[in-house]
Symmetry: C2
Subunit: 324 residues, 2 copies
């Protein structure tokens, strides 16, 4: 795929991955709606296989490879969810997976990736180290690179969550996702704009990793320098493919403080009784930070994942160093 | 209602409360099934209004009152979920609710009951103190007593969760609930035995509050003395009405250690990505303690509620004093 994908590509991805993934439920919560004066529809990708939307992109990419392309396995770097997803998709297809993970990855994510049979290569937690270690792995194994987000196959797979959301809940005013590397946001933008051009696509982004917001303003990619946010899935920077799609479709990226992310996460746990990770809570945090901008709107939110380390919840104890 | 209720009474209760409650989803989890070698169907009453099945019983009782019976409001004692449920049902009907709660109730439960507009009366955390304080409240207000479990209207309402479960998932070998006062278990027994006589009804009970297990063995009610369990919804003892129904229909009550309850709770959070309270985790804990007894079975489990104080999770820190 050389040119920007369209709704048609996302529909094809959806057909390709449907045998493998869950069609996740869309939940609502009266208490949160009442608090915000809006109507929120939560697409629960925390209930997805591997606990995150990432399986959609990984599965589409792995099953897009022909036999020759896949024979030496697949490789990626990942802060966790993409690694688990790629490992599982490779296991389904019966090929090897190599996953380069930062050494500060959460215990639960390391365990999940290993549990799906992938080979884990630990690296220093900087974008540069990830990239270099990944190159070395690919050179020595011949594995096919499946980038976590800057890959049209991955973007199209990740856009299928929004496709399902828009099919299940027609007439949304806004669809919101978190943004880290931009795969979910760009896939969502293509799906939503193709299906329902009048629906706005927005994103929430951690203040402490606000490269997407900065990049949109500047009109060029400004990589994040010190992404010290609790939202561990959003510490990455946009790629050229995701930036280009996002620039074309998305105007509003709202940044959220660490306190705002934690408050939204806690609200979802407490009122919706579901487990979501900090990254998944960023869009709700964005709305909670400026509720008047959303009054009366019908808003779809993609809850991106639920993989948290239950030993270190951000509102208990002092271990995390995040929040106030 | 003077004689033991039947399936017909539970169907009537279901009709009465259906406009007010959620038909909660039944979730499955491949990882837990693989671990146990059985097929588990989780009826998610943690996603019910007020976060627990208790709204079913309270709502049925409140809407079973005629206008004269309800004019001075309703009153109950409750460790939390029944209080919240009664408060909300009373709010729906536009009458007052008085709730006697032990002073060691969790913060989140106190907040929920107050949030639905009930008047809270704090008491010492013993069965005797609850009863005496409740009597005083009823004498001074003229409110109608709605007992949390020893009341046929409440039992029938609580049995509607199992009614829905058996309708949605036919052919279950076993249906399991937790047991505290026995309202959920006795209502479940009537529903399941009426719909599907060959299905076994079982319960999980905390070792540290094993009065139902002891009472079944002895053939008479043996109240719990020092119910020091993390499963705060199960610290109560059977009543005469619930005991009599349970004695007729239930043979197996499996006790679970504090460690077993916590392990089951954590497994549900980690793998199913949903928030359940300790009490809700007791049936899974019972199965995890003796998996061979359940190999190959299709088992329905009622996840009774999701109201936990997120500041004091049992596997973090030393505050709880429970477990090892």
């Amino acid at each position: 795929m050389k040119t920007q994908p369209t709704l048609k590509d996302i529909r094809e991805a959806h057909k390709r991955i449907t045998p493998f993934i869950h069609r996740t439920p869309v939940l609502t919560c009266r208490a949160i709606d009442d608090m915000l004066g809006a109507t929120l529809f939560f697409k629960c990708e925390n209930l997805q296989k591997v606990g995150a939307f990432k399986i959609r992109g990984a599965c589409n990419a792995v099953y897009s490879l022909d036999d020759a392309e896949s024979e030496n396995g697949v490789a990626a770097h990942s802060s966790g969810n993409h690694g688990a997803a790629l490992a599982l998709a490779a296991q389904w297809r019966g090929i090897k997976a190599y996953v380069v993970m930062p050494e500060n990855s959460s215990a639960v994510k390391l365990k999940a990736v290993a549990g799906y049979g992938a080979e884990i290569i630990l690296c220093k937690p900087t974008p540069k180290d990830r990239e270099e270690d990944l190159k070395r792995v690919i050179q020595s194994t011949g594995a096919a690179l499946i980038h976590p987000y800057n890959d049209y196959r991955v973007i199209c797979g990740q856009g299928t969550a929004a496709l399902e959301l828009c099919e299940d809940i027609p007439g949304l005013d806004i669809v919101m996702t978190p943004v880290g590397g931009g795969g979910l946001l760009s896939g969502t933008a293509i799906a939503v704009k193709g299906l329902s051009p009048q629906t706005r696509v927005m994103a929430g982004e951690p203040e402490r990793a606000d490269d997407a917001c900065q990049s949109l303003k500047a009109g060029r990619i400004i990589p994040v320098k010190d992404p010290d946010t609790i939202a561990d899935g959003l510490r990455t920077s946009l790629g050229d493919l995701t930036f280009s799609i996002i620039e074309g479709h998305v105007k509003d990226i709202i940044t959220v403080s660490e306190e705002g992310i934690i408050a939204a996460m806690r609200l979802i746990w407490e009122r919706m009784k579901i487990v979501v990770e900090p990254s998944a809570s960023v869009p709700l945090g964005a709305i909670m930070g400026r509720p008047k901008d959303f009054t009366g709107k019908r808003i779809g939110i993609i809850l991106s994942g639920g993989n948290v380390d239950l030993d270190t919840l951000p509102w208990i104890g002092q271990e995390s160093g995040h929040g106030s």
